[in-house]
Assembly symmetry: C2
């Protein structure tokens, strides 16, 4: 009869017993918190109780993978090691569809999914990024997969028929193997959050998963996230998106759609939505209806869960553009000094003017393009339409959205925005966008630092992301991530365009989020003065 | 057929028309953002679309006022001017029960409600605060109230009978007058968030409110917050709490409880929970079930709403203690210098030792007291029990909770915690708790600042809260509030005890939150070295 059952209470042990005492699951923020068990602010091996396993739930085509990838990208960016474990990928592997299997790496997949520039859109400046190192594949060949390979099976609806015994067995084994990968990540590879991306639409499957977690890990936070589509247009649009996904690529669209509908119908027969059972058993869950239109959260526990839920509460599918650039050249740039608060150089003022003209032009082009697109959009989409519209576009019926221009509170950033007409653009200064504060090194050149503080310089070179400049108030990249976080949540929450005119470290941190960069990529991202990045969310087909 | 209808779209005007164009409702954070319309980061008069009206919904004894007061305290602390408008207060005024009416001031009431030390608890150190200036009453005498005063009416269940025409008329007038006060606050007094605290349990009443808002203010964010109790124990406990409230104080408890139940039954007959109607009409709402056990949020729009919902997601009723103190005396303290990162003085080390012994003793006393209390707790409470238990205590059945000790990352704070046994206490360092960074004034004495930077010194004296120290990275109180915010949310979220060993400005900011201090009180709060504050949430009877 526990009213609010916390994991701690569910299993409190005498601290002298051999079972380890469960630590409180309070906040750990890399770089900002420090304790004996977690000197770098990451969740330590010992602290499994603070880790989080997320179990996705929902019928196919409900946007589970979209949510999963966005969430993983956000948590990885906050430096909580997060990985997605996708059962569908393993299933396709087990049934020999290897040619369609991308190497799965949570962050990298998310970046690809979210930041491919919209190919159909108006020409926009290209994003130049250093070549990413090849991500490690997570779906290693299991025995079951190897066995199954001998008789490759088609992934048509028949495969999902419960009466197809052979297929059912493969599907079960795939789920178990994927779960084992997730456990390895949490227990042996230092992972903080493991996400199981699958339909998990029956109560039986969900109970099996919970039992296995309790048996293998014991006490760890578990959060179910269910995605539900009540809006017929979103659902139809999601379904058609599948036609260009790995199961149906290069097949007849009409037959494929029919097959996919059948497959969903099979799942739907045994589908038990999250709710009654979970509430009776004090199980934490989040149910998202129509991508953030309505969110039900139940018994949310622990810092990581709270962070995840907060993020899920704040996103939308509105089409729009996010632009990121550094300020124009400043007098300190000319002198090669870091930090400071100098004015723009004449060159810098020119950049501000050119930026204004360019963005104004691109804004007009975008609006014209959206209007044209809306005119040719059909909801429900016409048969054979492989690039279904974002339902938001059509229903919104208004592409003339606001355009925010956000600068830091430093002169060189504010001056770069000086040509924007404040009747047409919403100008705002934000302290969160200020340059990284270099403590006692403010106003020095890198050369001076290297010769006068060789130790500090070397330490910084060794791990730029974790490095913090000495002196009271001195910052590092992790501090910047932390203060930029509210800006990211705000960018996700709002539906307006936004141009951010900021500084090198902050631009890198912003781009690291949008591109899902790996830890070692953030602080070295190529990000020169005068480069303008344009980001636009697009929907890409994803495996179910 | 709008999928995600934003207020902006609902009424976009041509920017050349005479109707003011609606600004995007993006984040405004006092001290951290700046724009032409909002130079100090507060929502400007012109920006009514960014303001927020919260309408509470729920039967009596569902904890509405509790939620309201906590939320108002949080938003005021974040420097978003928030005020509660309570219809029950006005009703009591209108029916001549003036002797029971406290002066209502959102922040102040919240502080009283939450931070009265628990009189039944073990002796704990007393909180010393500067005398608060008397809060302004918000319930001014209206004409209706004056009319009604002539025939004072009893607030028994009869009064709430819809067939009691005279009473119904008074109740209606009270609701309208209270709403007018709220409009005045938003439109004329610079308020950012107005909260209407009343049952608003019928669809008719809610429609009337919305119509009146649209008619009087036009476009403003409206958020409904409904509180529901499914847990019988919480409900019973809440009901008994009413017996010591203003309507039933000094009356026979048995008869009072019967009368109150009747009153609730009358409301319940016409009660329409939030849901279907609101979803059909794209109206944003939050439904809280059993104080945070389950939270349903729908169409949350705008920065302020998102902040409010995030806060509501993260609180609980667990009994526990929060301790706040400054570090022990440091070498810089001895020298009178501000800032820096010096070691503790011998005196400072002594304080650390004494603090450890004292807190360890008090922790034991608290646990013994809770065990004794749990042994005498009856759920449902026995008749005549005026001090109903916190349902959490009984059902929890375990008072042996964890105890966190959080320090800043500065030496003087870390050293003050050095005597705590890390097997018994969860020690953690947090950069968010570091002292305010005084920029170029670091390491100076106040006297030096006064003589060398007379202008800065004078400016700081004029408005300490808004003042920011000069130099890159220099901070002010508003910066501290912003970086302490995640700590506050975490303290609300967790159920463990916590001792925070921090610095003057941060201690002031923490206490400002817990005590609901007014803006002008924060930066001057008396907070000397060696003072230890103990805070414990208690439930107090509140008017319905």
């Amino acid at each position: 009869m526990l009213l609010i059952q916390t994991p701690r209470n569910a299993l409190r042990q005498n601290s002298t017993s051999s079972t380890p005492r469960l630590r409180p699951t309070t906040l750990d923020i890399p770089g900002l918190t420090k304790s004996k068990v977690s000197p770098d602010g990451r969740i330590s091996e010992r602290d499994v109780g603070s880790k989080l396993i997320i179990i996705m739930v929902g019928l196919p085509a409900r946007g589970k993978s979209y949510i999963t990838k966005k969430l993983a990208r956000y948590l990885n960016w906050l430096q909580h090691d997060t990985k997605i474990f996708n059962v569908g990928e393993r299933r396709r592997l087990a049934t020999h569809h290897q040619d369609h299997i991308p190497n799965l790496n949570g962050a990298q997949v998310a970046a690809n999914a979210l930041l491919n520039t919209d190919q159909e859109g108006p020409p926009i400046p290209t994003l130049t990024l250093p070549e990413p190192a090849s991500p490690e594949p997570i779906a290693q060949h299991s025995k079951a997969a190897a066995d199954a390979e001998n008789d490759a099976m088609d992934q048509s609806a028949d495969f999902f028929d419960p009466n197809n015994k052979k297929a059912a067995q493969i599907r079960e084994q795939c789920a178990l193997d994927t779960l084992d990968d997730l456990f390895r990540f949490i227990l042996e590879e230092g992972g903080a959050v493991g996400i199981l991306d699958a339909t998990n639409s029956t109560l039986g499957r969900r109970k099996m998963i919970i039992d296995r977690i309790r048996e293998r890990i014991g006490h760890v936070n578990v959060l179910f996230i269910e995605s539900v589509c009540e809006d017929k247009h979103i659902l139809e649009s999601n379904m058609r998106l599948k036609l260009s996904g790995p199961d149906y690529k290069d097949k007849d669209p009409h037959a494929s759609l029919e097959d996919f509908r059948k497959r969903v119908a099979i799942y739907a027969k045994n589908y038990v939505p999250i709710g009654e059972y979970e509430e009776k058993h004090n199980m934490p869950y989040v149910k998202m209806v129509d991508v953030g239109r309505k969110v039900i959260s139940h018994q949310i526990r622990g810092f990581l869960s709270a962070q995840a839920v907060y993020y899920l509460l704040n996103f939308n599918l509105a089409p729009r553009q996010i632009w990121i650039t550094r300020h124009g050249e400043s007098m300190d740039n000319v002198a090669g000094k870091i930090g400071g608060d100098s004015e723009l150089s004449p060159n810098g003022h020119c950049y501000g003017k050119a930026l204004t003209d360019f963005v104004t032009l691109k804004r007009q082009e975008w609006e014209l393009y959206q209007q044209a697109k809306a005119a040719h959009t059909h909801l429900p989409p016409h048969p054979g339409d492989h690039t279904p519209p974002n339902p938001y576009v059509e229903l919104e019926g208004d592409s003339n959205r606001n355009f925010c221009v956000w600068t830091s509170m430093l002169k060189r950033s504010i001056q770069t925005a000086e040509s924007f007409d404040d009747e047409e653009y919403e100008l705002k200064q934000m302290r969160m966008l200020d340059e990284l504060y270099a403590g006692t090194m403010e106003g020095m050149t890198y050369q001076e630092i290297q010769s006068q503080y060789a130790d500090e310089y070397a330490q910084r070179q060794k791990d730029k992301l974790a490095y913090r400049y000495p002196g009271q108030g001195g910052e590092g990249y992790l501090d910047v991530i932390n203060r930029v976080r509210p800006v990211i949540v705000e960018l996700e929450r709002m539906t307006d365009h936004c141009l951010l005119i900021t500084h090198r470290s902050v631009a890198r941190v912003l781009l690291a989020y949008f591109l899902g960069l790996r830890r070692d990529q953030v602080a070295d991202l190529y990000c020169p003065l005068g480069m303008l990045y344009s980001l636009e969310p697009v929907r890409k087909p994803m495996p179910h």
